[in-house]
């Protein structure tokens, strides 16, 4: 921090809000916020009713924190963050970023640049566009099935359905109305972007599966629950 190039970056990104849904990330959230803070001045953590002190730590690390009085799920946390961001008229770009440290701030930086320099409304992060991300076979198979289903449902052509790293502009933020509180929101976001007719693209991102993020991440069984939630409503 404190390098001149970074202060220029911070200036450039003053119209960008990073949304970090946080649930029980006390051991990693400070590092996530600090790393993001080198590139982005506006970081909003939505503490989704964590039983630990994740929100306090995020706040001390320099993030704005919104507190859910109880745990609702990642979809609800993102919707809260989006609505808070819309009220701030200086914010033109939104980035959703996982709180467990599996995403890279430089990927987020590249995605916001893509939004600025090209005619896109949304940039989706994809772990399948290059070889950086290492996945187990089971996870690879389930994610492939998820993306096949999402593409079939929405008519978009994406390579990675359930990636928490996305960047979008204000128009998209205003169009998104997440109804699924849990993890089914990933498909829901894609669906609403499809219905809104927004211009989208994908960028390769690197997902770092640490021991921590693996332990905390989505169980493969949860894909059954997600599918059920999406169908029966």
């Amino acid at each position: 921090m404190g390098m001149p190039e970074n202060s220029a970056l911070l200036q450039e990104n003053s119209d960008t809000l990073i949304l970090v849904p946080v649930f029980s990330e006390a051991s990693v959230i400070a590092e996530v916020v600090t790393e993001l803070g080198q590139y982005f001045p506006n970081i909003c953590c939505i503490d989704d009713g964590s039983p630990d002190s994740s929100g306090v730590i995020a706040s001390q690390a320099g993030a704005q924190v919104i507190w859910h009085p109880m745990n609702l799920g990642q979809g609800a946390a993102l919707q809260t963050g989006i609505e808070a961001g819309i009220e701030n008229t200086e914010i033109n770009y939104f980035v959703t970023f996982d709180g467990d440290g599996q995403h890279s701030p430089t990927d987020a930086l590249e995605m916001v640049r893509t939004l600025r320099e090209h005619e896109f409304d949304v940039v989706f992060g994809s772990r399948f566009l290059d070889e950086r991300t290492e996945l187990t076979l089971a996870k690879r198979v389930v994610l492939r099935m998820a993306i096949t289903y999402t593409n079939w449902l929405t008519g978009l052509k994406l390579t990675d359905a359930h990636n928490g790293l996305r960047a979008f502009n204000r128009n998209v933020a205003q169009a998104i109305q997440l109804q699924h509180d849990g993890m089914a929101h990933a498909t829901e976001i894609v669906n609403q972007i499809s219905k809104g007719g927004f211009r989208y693209c994908e960028r390769p991102v690197h997902i770092v599966y640490t021991y921590y993020s693996k332990a905390k991440g989505q169980s493969l069984w949860n894909s059954v629950n997600i599918l059920f939630d999406l169908i029966l409503r």
Partner: protein, 122 residues
């Protein structure tokens, strides 16, 4: 498959559709109450007159009266499960909206600033 069996299938699917699409309407609530009373009456009758029930079951192509009761109770259970699932979904939705509204109000300081002394120890 007998025509009567087909008839029963249509009723099951019709009820499921009804449970999915009219879950909060007045008709749906009235329907649930009628179904509840009807099922209670049927069970009482089944205990009192097992033979009559078997005759009714036979006209539907079902062997015994007790089997007919099992099928109807199964339908009732399925119907109840789906209704309850959807009702809980609606309730979750309302809790979500309320919780998110409180969170946003709090973040704007409309409900008073968060007192740092009230926050849990790090």
């Amino acid at each position: 498959m007998r025509i009567a069996q087909l008839f029963l299938m249509v009723i099951i699917l019709g009820l499921l559709w009804f449970a999915l699409h009219h879950r909060s309407s007045t008709e749906a609530r009235a329907f649930r109450r009628i179904a509840f009373l009807g099922l209670t009456l049927l069970i009482v009758l089944a205990v009192l007159f097992p033979d009559v029930l078997t005759e009714i079951a036979n006209t539907f192509g079902i062997g015994r009266g007790a089997d007919l009761v099992i099928y109807l109770v199964s339908i009732g259970l399925l119907f109840f499960s789906v209704s309850a699932y959807l009702k809980f979904g609606d309730m979750d939705r309302r809790i979500t909206l309320l919780t998110r509204h409180i969170a946003l109000l709090e973040s704007k300081g409309d409900m008073g600033q968060i007192d740092p002394d009230d926050l849990p120890e790090v």
